[in-house]
Amino acid sequence: MPLRIWRKPLDADKIKIPQAEIHIIKNRCKGCGFCIEFCPRDVLETSEEFNVRGVHPPKVKDETRCTLCHFCTAVCPDFAIFTVEKDCGGSC
Amino acid sequence: MTLENRAILTGKHFMNGDFACAEGAIAAGCRFFAGYPITPATEIAERMARRLPEVGGVYIQMEDELGSMAAVIGASYAGVKSMTATSGPGFSLMQENIGLAAMTETPCVIVDIMRGGPSTGQPTMAGQQDVMQAKWGSHGDYEVIALAPSSVQEMFDLTIEAFNLSEIYRVPVIVLADEVVGHMSEPLVIPAPDAINVVNRKRPQSSPEEYLPFKPDENLVPPMACFGEGYRFYATGLTHDERGRPRTSSAKAQQKLVQRLCDKIRENTEKIVKINETMLEDAEVAVIAYGIASRSALSAVRKARERGIKAGLLRLVTLWPFPDSHVSEVAKRVQAIVVPEMNYGQLVREVERAAKETPVTFLPKLGGEPHRPFEILKAIRRVHT
């Protein structure tokens, strides 16, 4: 259940929210769908393209929704997807 | 420091064969024993249980022989010389993992103190019924080395030899004794440490990045890295290539690997094989024997000579690889060959094969008691013309 923030934190301006970079190694994907199904933020969906295995790898719907929980990274059986924090040198 | 803390008990002893075997193992550098008690090899386990902790080694009594053999391979791959001891029924249980040891080229020693079989058989009586099993016991094509001690001194000496051969050729070596040799007590001389030749496995010269665990040297044996040295290799019982990668669908990889595993022993047979000749130079009848049967045979040959028969003894110390060329050469020189064995026909088949045209008389003795010298003498007289 999403937590509804009803009050803005006092230091909200100073907090830097990490931005995510989602990397998909498309040709490793076997199309199991675990990352898409279990992403808590509904960031991924099945793509239309085919990879070398003849399956549809995931694609990112909205990278800004990703909170870097790394669940997709942990649950992928094929090491085909991982999330890293975007390095924008302070200007995200 | 007491006597017992020494690894090598230099001096003269009066000891039983099983204990001598254990002392030989320790003298060779064995520091891991995993086994399961079984008559008549239990005394080896008991001696190792007492002695190994004294010299900083590990004894573990596994839950069965299958686990024992697996633990021996594990310890060897961790870099420690390791061994197990058993008899016929346990030897049968160990076969699958002996195959694994052969396939992953693991140096290790398996002592089989043979007793009456098949199955539970005669636990407290002698036999020589595991000879063929030592060679063909596991499935698939592979080669092992088997040595046959015939005295307490040889139980000590040949166990050291077994370790050395296993380290040189990265192969399981079987010490194939029998219950009489295992349980009898005789004088034993243990030399000083510097008089004992101990060989260790060849280590890799290459760096971890370049190392190919199953790439052989000129003698067809690959140098061996062990766990924890940074090589991070992969060893599997599946058919594999030089890198260790499973190649279960490659005919070429299977052929290459299996041939090498066999050739490394077959092509080095002359270097490996040991025999002992007594009164064979002018012999007309040769007795070919091993183990306890060779003790009776020696007595019979001497008695034959007293009666004017030119008999001689070819004692096989190495049973596998079979000393083909030695047996063929002796067969050419003599009129007849007598093979006494405490089984119903095992090594005699190899002798027949190598002896070709020379007639071979087989003298089986079942029941657990060694041949009496006069039984062998009778056979010698019968074949002598």
Binding site: I22, G31, F34, A74 | G74, T104
Partner: protein, 280 residues
């Protein structure tokens, strides 16, 4: 969405063996992932980690970890590991194998290793059948399940693996599924650092065989079953930790301290050698 960056756990994978042979939706890859993650979060010397596995789909895992690895005969991973560990105690020897390999043919070795409290973590991938050979029934196959050798439904009661491990003497016993990746990783870390015999049962999807034969055609179907049915009950009596179509009890059931085989052996050897030096 670039592809130049390497996966963060790449260094734990044996590069020339990847990609692995496991099916789409198979949980074994997740176990490999969690194991690699656990290694990355601990300060272990990777050169001292030895992965030993038996025969089965999960048995191939030792080929994929960038560690010293050994792939034994069926059922003999544990005794091999015991040999390696006792011969060289500084090694961190880990056994990762399947429910058939560890509890059918290897059952005897499992209970004795747990009894002896050998220092090693044992991770069991439980997919309720013998996958590698095409989906025959295993000691963990539920009653009435369809497998190729129970074509009329299984009539055998399955093991409760965590109960068996606890009863045999394991000092750390946990059960997770491949969906519970974080808790599984934490358990693996605990097991890697704990003195004594640790056992982690991982319920894992086998969609091509067990799943297909039992109305869970995809890995996703099985993972959804895990999600619906899982219930975490830490410290529950393992005898009561059941697995049914509607309830999979997970958690850490045992976490006790008991001197390990290695500790007792070291103490005994020290005693013996001191006595011998001290006397005469």
């Amino acid at each position: 969405m670039s592809e130049e960056l390497l996966h963060p756990l790449e260094r734990f994978l044996r590069e020339w063996m990847i990609p692995h042979i496991w099916c789409e939706g198979c949980g074994n890859g997740i176990i490999l992932n969690c194991f690699a993650k656990a290694l990355s979060e601990l300060n272990l010397d990777p050169n001292k980690v030895v992965v030993v596995s038996g025969i089965g789909c999960i048995g191939r895992i030792s080929g994929y970890t960038n560690t010293d690895s050994y792939h034994t005969t069926h059922g003999r991973a544990i005794p091999f590991a015991i040999g390696a560990k006792l011969a060289k105690p500084e090694l961190k020897v880990v056994v990762i194998s399947g429910d058939g390999d560890l509890f059918a043919i290897g059952g005897n070795h499992f209970i004795h290793a747990a009894r002896r409290n050998i220092d090693m973590p044992v991770i069991c991938a439980n997919n309720f059948n013998y996958g590698m050979t095409g989906g025959q029934y295993a000691p963990t196959t539920p009653l009435e399940a369809w497998t190729t050798t129970t074509p009329y439904g299984n009539i055998e009661h399955p093991f409760n693996l965590v109960y068996l491990a606890a009863a045999s003497g394991a000092v750390y016993v946990a059960r997770w599924t491949t969906l519970h990746v974080r808790r599984l990783t934490e358990s693996i870390k605990k097991a890697l650092q704990k003195e004594g015999f640790s056992f982690i049962e991982v319920i894992s999807p086998c969609p091509e065989l067990y799943g297909r034969y039992n109305q869970m055609r995809t890995g996703l179907d099985m993972m959804k079953w895990f999600k619906e049915a899982s219930e975490v009950q830490h410290h529950l009596d393992p005898a009561k930790a059941e697995i049914t179509p509607s309830k999979i009890v997970l958690g850490e059931f045992v976490n006790i301290e008991k001197p390990s085989y290695g500790r007792l052996l070291r103490e005994k050897i020290t005693q013996i050698q001191e006595k011998n030096v001290g006397g005469e």
